[in-house]
Amino acid sequence: MFLGELRVEAALGNLRTISTFIHSIGQRLQLTEKTLFDIDLAVEESAANIVQYAYPPDKAGEMLLRIETMDDVLHVTLTDWGIPLDPDDVKPFDIHAPVETRIKGGMGLHLIHSVVDDVVRKTAPSPGGPNSITLIKHIERLKPGVHRPSTLRELNAMLTVSQIMATDVGLDDLLELIVNELVEAIDAERGTLYLIDEEKGELFSRVLLEDTGALREIRLQVGEGIAGHVATTGEVLNVRHAYDDPRFMRVFDQLTGYRCRTILTAPMRNPQREIIGVVQLLNKKGGPFTERDERLLTAMATQAAISIENARLYAQEMQQRLINQELETARAIQKSFLPQTVPQHAGWDIGAFWRPMREVAGDFYDFYTLPDGRLAVVIADVSGKGVPAALFMALSVTVLRFAMSLNFAPSELMNHANQAIIANQQSRMFTTAFVGYLDLDSGVLQFASAGHNPPLLYRAATGQCEHLEASGVAVGVFKEAAYAEETVTLAEGDVLVLYTDGTTEMINAEEEEFGEERLEEFVVQQASRPAEELAALIAKATATFAQAQGAFDDETLVVVKRSRLTPAGCGDPATAQRM
């Protein structure tokens, strides 16, 4: 039987929370004190091991505690996703060793094995997977009729609240359940749970018991009304005569037709002691709320806060995992669209660099050998980021390749792509692109640009850069867009650098852009580098520039160099140039 689950950060401060959880389960199972002590001990030692060894100090991680019974056997499983314990590292504990050596290690494991019946350890097959230790113990229960001093109902309510997160219930279900438990445990007529909406500075209630007619959600300013007062001050408020209290808002009674007499309100604090909401019970049956009710509600509100936070974190994580999986798939698909290798041609040195800011990018580059033997070089930047941009990129690549296969000239190609993209997508995304057809014999480059950053052409003869400009707007914007076509010839030693705005718009801590001038300067300095290396160096330079800022855009570079003709017996071209 599944009893409960607790997911917490693997931190020393959470060991007490785990112990409290174990105790509440123990109470519910009516365990003897000895059994409870042993389980408490084995769990703490196991959890402390995870806290101390599973995760590196600079990288926090989680642990999950799951409790089940099978007949009279209790299974407690602790799972982490960190570094697995190597059993060979644990020396058997020597009970006869002197005290000084005995304290060094293995004591915890020795205790665990001594107080439970069996220990099952599972290690993740690959790093980052789940490692678990299951503590198995035959349990002894108190004999019927032996009752603990605390009322079982209160503890049960508390336990339900703390374990509910284990199941797949959504936050709304959880809130409803918490309110039900509180109302029942304290014997009130109804209850309301308000959460704080930090963005709006409001309290809102998603749970109203029984039929509330038209009223589905209550919103209050933090500070307004009794609940708002408690959310601000953090004090427990026991109002004996609602209609005599100036903070009471009669409007809700008028709306619901319900009449409040007594109101008990307590703040809900998360483990960091921040107030995340307020619980309010209305109309205690058979008299006013007592001091005992105040204490009980305070305690349960804390439990509820932990559960709510856990449920939120859990939901967030699940969502994140789902997103990560999707992104991984998207990235794999996207990578398959990029050229798997750079073209190799005698007399030319070509290199490329591609780094998506997220798992997927809107940037891409492409090489394509045209039917007439020329090499098409493409760089493009899709508007937006992430998955939508990646999908749009896939569309753009397909359209461009299709047009190239039909031997369209660069300007025709842009026209065609523009029409096709406008016809094929409603999402109003667009692509800037530069397309050049390079004649590998003559070095003539015929090119067109759809609003793309003008590539740099380093001229070996002058040691300066030219900008390859051709008029035209991004494709996917105007149906009537027109694209000019230009021609330039790459001479020996010339270097063509294609880039996206991720390079020039990289921003440093002073909010300065890397800019075209810096890029140009860098290219002039480093022009003698091999193409692949130059592309990587530019990316490195921009990353270094932006370091303090930490924000990267997608960055893509393509470098095309026309090699120098090497005089016979004079070594590699780079050396020749430096000499």
């Binding site: 703490e44 009970i95 005995r102 304290i103 205790l111």
Partner: protein, 110 residues
């Protein structure tokens, strides 16, 4: 955990209350080490109200015991409840520590 300290016949008597778990061991270590550092090496712990002890607590106690004995002192334990006593036995620490049924007996044995 709750720790109070008093001096009786030149011996530091600590009354411990609560859980000597990983967190409690830190509190206890701070309190005991402060006294050790002040040059007091004769200590008795009244453990009647200690409900729990784990390996972190045992490690702390062993450390203080070793330092005290090196300085010709001791760390004597009194009134352990059976569950706590059992943890000492599992690790074999019942052989290292002098353990007494009453606080008076522990103090008188210096």
């Amino acid at each position: 955990m709750n720790i109070t300290e008093r001096v009786e016949n030149g011996i530091a008597v600590f009354v411990l209350e609560g859980r000597i778990d990983t967190e409690g061991a830190v509190d206890m270590d701070l309190a005991l080490q402060a006294t050790v550092s002040a040059g007091q090496h004769k200590m008795v712990l009244d453990m009647a109200e200690v409900r729990y002890i784990g390996s972190a607590g045992l490690r702390t106690l062993a450390g203080v015991l070793t330092r005290n004995r090196e300085a010709n002192g001791d760390l004597k334990l009194a009134t352990l409840n059976p569950k706590v006593m059992r943890v000492f036995q599992i690790i074999g620490f019942d052989k290292f520590f002098s353990i007494y049924d009453t606080l008076e007996a522990a103090i008188a044995d210096f």
